[in-house]
Symmetry: C3
Subunit: 353 residues, 3 copies
């Protein structure tokens, strides 16, 4: 579905230079874009490519527009942050292309009579909504979701298929939860008695802010006594595990396969690379960035980038280096021995001179 | 729902000192507990806090009770293991607060006529129970579970929503399986022929003992020919993968994101920190404890704590240390060279003296 | 169900030596096999065990058959690759033992009128098939699966329970997707604006070839603009995460808990051990083998085995080695200092001589 550039800038902003009636139907990379596409320049290395692009319109900064000058003949949309503009423009095109959502409840859904489902919500096939649940205006609850007892789902939130959102949990507005995610399973809490484990009931909730996205098959456990809290704007990728009583600060993002053990407190604006692992009861400051595959075993009080993974090598080289790592204290002892001997030799030589 | 302290000690045990008619309705931490709460002292560092607690009753050892003396005015429940008592008391309060379970089969469930579902079991919406399955007394099978052909689910076991318990698998009594777990998917077994993989059918089962808890979105594969076995009292957290033909000893506990490759044999009373990974065909003794993020690449015959993860550092420091790790054999060669030279110098100096 | 050896070699091949009317009903290991079993010899260490096996028939190479000679009295099936033969024979026995699949659509399934389901397909309870989906001949779609809008499922593909196969995705013939897998969730793509994340719509698909197997609770994300591609014969174990726009070459196999970040291009015939992690935008050549627990942080241009994990030790030993790793640059400085001093001493000694 094509729209004129006029509509794009009306809805997304930016300053249009060029024919407002030019019709565009989507976003494409600089080198693939044609006469019906919008493209964008955010990486300075691609400036030459941008100048040669056949896109109907280019999203770029005013400075880049001046640098490119007359080499590029299409329309221009000037903005301070072309990449963010691209994201918003892509959202607009995606919304135009999306099949219309039909409000209403599929006849196969099992809705408890005491649940409150907003009239504009869309409830798919085989969904279960338990007693006391509240589902807000504009929500989409896809096939096979389970919405537990006394939960609250904020307006315009979208649960993809087979999400479990369990008893008492709360999510804010405009949330997106991907297929298979489980929010509100019991935390892992036991008392040990003579080797056997006695379950500690997990009676807290998961409380999630606005504009949070949670990936496919990710799990977020309910708190033990208090709540597990995920603040506004947090983005969690797939296959992540968040333990009970964690607190994740606003706008923090975690890539796939990250694990956060119980009672960790993580700041705002942090990022975690894939498969990073955070031990329990730690505190991580705002603006901390953890590299992929790194284990965080101590609290981090200072913003910055932190890393800890064993460097990859050919297997033969790794065998050699790992054998030395296994005996680094032996190497250190030899070094100390050498230092002593050399000090003695030095002193002998001095005495002789 | 409040109960008198008398009822608590009748059901959970311990020696009550104080008014048995005092009504209590739940557990709270020492500093948050009020006149309707029970609290507990298991960490000696919190003794001062316990003495000042406003809890209606304190769970503690006789020794701690004497140490606190008259500083604390509420009721006391004396027990040898306050933390285990707390867990059991919390279970009692949680059971009192839980909504009543209605035995019966939801009309949307698809139950094969040859399956046997106990009259006291509760089968939720959109559940599938296949031919020959047997579901015991007091079981709760939540929304969207799939109970495969010829499975056996022991009495009082609870499957949370969307559990898959696949053909032929067996679980004992009082089990808890959390949402999205998959028990009995095929193990990963292939024969390689000229680069391509030929599937080896996985015809074993998963056989699970009593009092086992399995976390959300955890997967336990069926055996190839023999069975995958999980003994009594094992506790598995979320996002865990257990490969085919593994044998996990009684009361072993694994934290989130652990992976166990096929045919590993793990002892009793072991613990595995989050994201620990155990290679296949290994044998791990009883009472082995593996730290988070550690890869177990060899069998372990001795009880104890084992660790193996790269220490976290600022990215700049890690860059430096990783560059050296990559060339540790070079460093060792230089050390050997130095040792030779120093030995020669030492011998020269001796000759000269 | 027993079949004569004649039928086995007719269907799977190989050269039979022995009575073709001998009835066999399954495969068993060499030491457990009895008069109704077929066993196989692929590991040369088991030759003595094979010679003593009570199996009705042995699958083995001609060379091994000669080595064993007359020690073994049962029938023999000669083949060049006994392990691959075993896999195919086991498939035959498994097919004979499997309950018959009834084509047709369970009445509880919700099938959009515009979807095309082949007459020979079997659609289980509580399945959702959305508009425009095409499900091929001989497919089995188990309980609770969600087949998204405009998807294509090739002939003879089997989706185990609760698979999500989301809008627009394509899978070829003879695929197997295990329970809880999610194919086609959104990739993790955001533009950052002043700390907050703006979602980049994910409009690509997941395109999967023939003979692909995908494990339980594994997730494969759809592409951002282009597609995520999984070529023929790829085998993915459980709990794996494949990011958006990845391209995985034919016959590559990944063990459980592997993570592949977005836009990685992986060659053919590669293998990845459990919990290996591959960073985004990398290129991995054909025939690369990554050990378990290793992080791949750079592209790999040469075939071979690569490793990178911290060796396991007792916790006390690890504490010592980790402390040194944290300060390896200090150790290198001391080494340089020593080298300088020793060079000076050597030169002094020479001057003196």
């Amino acid at each position: 579905m094509a729209i004129p550039l006029r509509q794009l800038v009306e809805q997304v902003g930016g300053q249009l230079q060029g024919d407002p009636d030019t019709l565009v139907s989507g976003i494409a990379p600089l080198d693939a874009a044609g006469a019906s596409h919008v493209s964008f320049l955010s990486n300075p290395k691609l400036r030459t490519q941008a100048a040669a692009s056949a896109a109907a319109a280019l999203i770029l900064t005013e400075a880049d527009s001046e640098r490119i000058g007359s080499q590029y003949a299409g329309a221009r949309i000037l903005t301070e942050r072309p990449y963010a503009y691209f994201a918003r423009a892509a959202q607009l095109f995606a919304a135009l292309a999306a099949p219309p959502v039909q409000p209403g409840i599929h006849p196969s859904a099992a809705i408890d009579p005491s649940a409150k489902v907003a009239a504009s919500a869309c409830i798919g096939p085989h969904v279960t909504v338990e007693a006391g649940a509240v589902i807000g205006e504009g929500c989409t609850i896809d096939s096979g979701c389970v919405i537990g007892r006394d939960t609250v789902v904020g307006a315009d939130t979208h649960f993809h298929p087979r999400v479990c959102f369990l008893a008492g949990c709360i999510i804010g507005e405009r949330g997106i939860v991907h297929a298979g995610a489980v929010i509100g399973a019991d935390g892992f809490g036991f008392a040990n008695e003579g080797g056997a484990w006695i379950k500690i009931p997990q009676t807290g909730r998961v409380v999630i802010g606005n504009d949070v996205e949670i990936g496919a098959n990710t799990t977020v456990d309910r708190g033990a006594l208090a709540d597990t809290v995920i603040e506004d704007g947090v983005k969690l990728d797939n296959q992540i595990q968040i333990g009970h009583n964690c607190h994740i600060g606003a706008h923090t993002a975690m890539a796939g396969c990250v694990g956060v053990a119980g009672s960790a407190t993580i700041g705002k604006y942090c990022t975690f690379g894939g498969a990073a692992m955070i031990l329990g009861h730690l505190t991580i400051a705002d603006n901390v960035h953890i590299s992929s595959g790194s284990l965080v075993s101590r609290s981090i009080a200072e913003a910055g980038q932190y890393t800890g993974f064993y460097p990859l090598a050919t297997n033969a080289e790794w065998e050699r280096s790992a054998a030395i790592v296994r005996n680094l204290s032996g190497m250190r002892s030899r070094m100390r021995e050498l230092e002593k001997t050399v000090a003695m030799l030095t002193s002998q030589n001095k005495n002789e001179q």
